[in-house]
C-alpha cells in the first residue's frame, strides 16, 4: 500500500520567554494510507496535538515554527506549499475535529452557516446548495430533524450533537485525511462510543485516512489499525495495533497499557490495583536535555539512558521502539 500522508523527520520548535528554544516535536516519522486509521497516543503534553496542527500548518508562528522535516500529502510537500495553497488544502483535503465541541463552534452563526461555509469556500456552492449540503451532512452524522437543526445555533445543541456537527463540517468536502484530536474526551462514555461508531462508518463511506489522537488505549483498540506512541515530542514506539496491545516493547507503552482498567477479567478474581506511571511528562522548558526523556520515570532505566538518546530500532516485524533495552547490541559495538 502506498502512503497517502507521509511525515518525515518533522520537528517543531517554540521560542520560550527566556530566549531559549524548545523542540516540542523532534524528528517524527510516520505514514498513513487511504482508508486506514493511525492512532497517536501519549499523555497530555507530549506533542500529539501539535503534530496535528503541524500537518494543517496551523502551528502558531511566532512563537512556534516547523523547524524541519517534510509532510507529504499524495506526494506534495505541504511544508513547501504557499499559504494560499494551504488554505485550499485545509478543510478540503485535510480536515480536523477538535477536542472541545463546546467551544469549537462559533456561537454567533448557525450550524448550517458553519457547515455550508466550508463547501461554499472549497466547492463554490451557492448559498442555497450549501444549505442543502449542510442538511445532507447533518443527516449523515445522524442528527435528528436536520432541516430544523440546520438553522439552530451551537448553544442549542448538546456536546455530543456539537461534535457530530464538527464531524459533519470536517467531512463536508470529503477530505482525504481527517485528523481527530481527542474527539471524545469532553463527552460522556455512551456518546463516545456513538461518535467512534459514526467515525468508522463515515470512514468506510469516504475512504478517508484518519489520524486519531487520543490518550485512550481503548479507543485505539477499537478504531486504529496502527499505533504511534509519542512521548515528549518523540515517537517512542510504532506497531500494528494488535501487536502493540499484546506485545508492547517500550516501558512507556507498557505503562500506558497497564494503566487501562480491565473489565473482561473474571469477576470472581480479585482485581489487581490500577497501575500508574510515576512522575509527569517533562515540561516544555525541560525538553532537549539529551538522553531519553522517559528515563527519569522509567523503572528499567540504565546508566546510559539519561545521557544518550536511544535510536529507533526494529524490535519485531513491522514494530519499532526507541529504547536502549533493544539497542544494547548496537550500542556495545
Amino acid at each position: 500500500m502506498s502512503a497517502l500522508l507521509e511525515v518525515r523527520g518533522l520537528s517543531v520548535e517554540f521560542d520560550l520567554k527566556d530566549g531559549a528554544v524548545s523542540r516540542v516535536i523532534d524528528g517524527l516519522n510516520f505514514e498513513l494510507a487511504a482508508g486506514r486509521t493511525l492512532g497517536i497516543v501519549g499523555e497530555s503534553g507530549c506533542g500529539k496535538s501539535m503534530t496535528a496542527l503541524a500537518i494543517m500548518r496551523l502551528v502558531p508562528v511566532p512563537p512556534g515554527r516547523i523547524a524541519e522535516g517534510a509532510i507529504r500529502l499524495a506526494g506534495e510537500n505541504l511544508l513547501d506549499a504557499s499559504e494560499a495553497r494551504m488554505r485550499e488544502v485545509r478543510g478540503n483535503d485535510v480536515s480536523m475535529i477538535f477536542q472541545e465541541p463546546m467551544t469549537s463552534l462559533n456561537p454567533v452563526y448557525t450550524i448550517g452557516d458553519q457547515i455550508g461555509e466550508t463547501v461554499r469556500l472549497h466547492q463554490g456552492l451557492s448559498r442555497r446548495d450549501a444549505r442543502d449540503r449542510a442538511i445532507e451532512m447533518l443527516r449523515a452524522v445522524s442528527i435528528p430533524a436536520p432541516e430544523k437543526r440546520v438553522d439552530e445555533y451551537p448553544h442549542q445543541l448538546s456536546g455530543g450533537m456539537r461534535q457530530r456537527v464538527m464531524i459533519a463540517m470536517a467531512l463536508a468536502c470529503r477530505p482525504q485525511v481527517l485528523i481527530a484530536d481527542e474527539p471524545t474526551t469532553a463527552l460522556d462514555v455512551t456518546v463516545q462510543a456513538q461518535i467512534f461508531d459514526l467515525l468508522k462508518e463515515l470512514q468506510q463511506q469516504t475512504e478517508a485516512a484518519v489520524i486519531l489522537i487520543t490518550h485512550d488505549m481503548g479507543a485505539i483498540a477499537e478504531m486504529a489499525q496502527r499505533v504511534v506512541v509519542m512521548y515528549a515530542g518523540r515517537k517512542v514506539e510504532e506497531a500494528p495495533v494488535d501487536e502493540m496491545l499484546t506485545n508492547p516493547k517500550h516501558p512507556y507503552t507498557r505503562g500506558l497499557i497497564a494503566c487501562v482498567p480491565h473489565l473482561e477479567a473474571d469477576p470472581a478474581l480479585e482485581r489487581p490495583p490500577l497501575m500508574e506511571i510515576p512522575g509527569v511528562v517533562p515540561s516544555v522548558a525541560e525538553l532537549g536535555r539529551g538522553g531519553c526523556p522517559f528515563a527519569p520515570r522509567c523503572a528499567e532505566a540504565m546508566d546510559r539512558c539519561p545521557q544518550d538518546m536511544p535510536p529507533e530500532t526494529a524490535v519485531g516485524e513491522d514494530h519499532t521502539a526507541a529504547c536502549w533495552l533493544y539497542s544494547a547490541t548496537e550500542a556495545a559495538a
Partner: protein
Amino acid sequence: MRLPAVIAKRLGYALALLFAVLVLNFTLLYLAPGDAAETIAGEAGGASPEMLAKIRKDYGLDLPFLDQLYLYLLKVVQGDFGHSFYFDQPVTTVIFENLAPTLLLVVSSLLIAISFGTFLGVFAARRPNGLLSQIITVLALLGYALPVFWTGIMLIILLASVIPLFPTSGMDSGPLGAAGFGYVWEVLHHLALPVLTLSTIYLAFYSRLSRASMMDVLGADYIRTARAKGLNERVVVFKHALRNAVLPVVTFAGLQFGALFSGAVLVETVFSWPGLGTLAFDSILRRDTPTLLGILFFSALIVIVANLLTDLAYRLVDPRIKSAARA
C-alpha cells in the same frame, strides 16, 4: 423570552425610572438655595415685596412642596413641562429647538468612537506588541487623563486660532451663511472640532476594549476551527472573530451613552454649540428651573431609549441571548 414581552417589560421599567427622575429632580431643585421669584423679578429690573408676592402666587411658588410636586407631575403627564420665564416660551418648544444639535453631536461622536475605536482595536489585536498597539495604549491613557473641556480649548487654540482650519464656536455662520447643501457643509465644518473633542476619550476607550476583546476571541477554539476550514485571515478576523469581539463594545456603548451625554454639556459650553448642554448650563445660571427640569427629563428619556436600543442591538448580534430564557 419573546421580543415584544421584553420590550413591554423594559418600557415598564422605563416609565418607573422616568417617574423617579422627575420626582428626584424636582425635589433637588426645590431644595436648592435661591428664590426663583427674586430671579424672575431681577429679569424685570427689580420689584417691591408686593410684586414678589404676586409673582410667587402667579407661579404657584407659595404652595406647599407636595402640592407643587403634584401640580408639576400632573402637568408633565399632560405633556406640559411648564413655561420658561427667561425665553417666555413653553419649555418643550425651547428644548426641541436645542435637541437636534445635541443629538447630532452625541450620536456622531458615538458612531465615530465605536467604528474607529473598534477598527483600531482589531488591527492592534493582530499584533499585541506592535506599534499600533503601543500608540493606542498611549492614546487611551491621554484620552482618560485629559479633561474634555481642556482638550476642547486646546483644539480651538490649535486648529481654529493658530491654524484657522475650523470655526471656533457655534453651529453655523448665522443668517449670512449658505443654504441647502452649503448649509450642511457649514454645519459639518462647525461640527468637526466638538465631535473630535467629545469622541477622543471614547475612541481611546473603545479601541482598548475591542483590542482586549479581540485578542481574547482570536485565541478561541472556534477561531482555530475557522482557520482549519481553510478560510483566509480576513474572513477569520472580520467574520468569525469580530462579531464575537464586538459584544462588550455594544454593552459599553449603551452604558456610556449617559456619560457621553454629560460630556456633551462641557463640549457644548466650550464650543457654544446651541444644544441641550449649553441650554442646561445657561438655565442653571439663570435659575430657569422649569427649563432645567425639562432638560433633565429629556436627557433621562434619551439615555433610557439608548439603553433599550442597546439591548435590541445585543440581541441582534448574539443569538444566545434570545433563547437563554426560552431554553
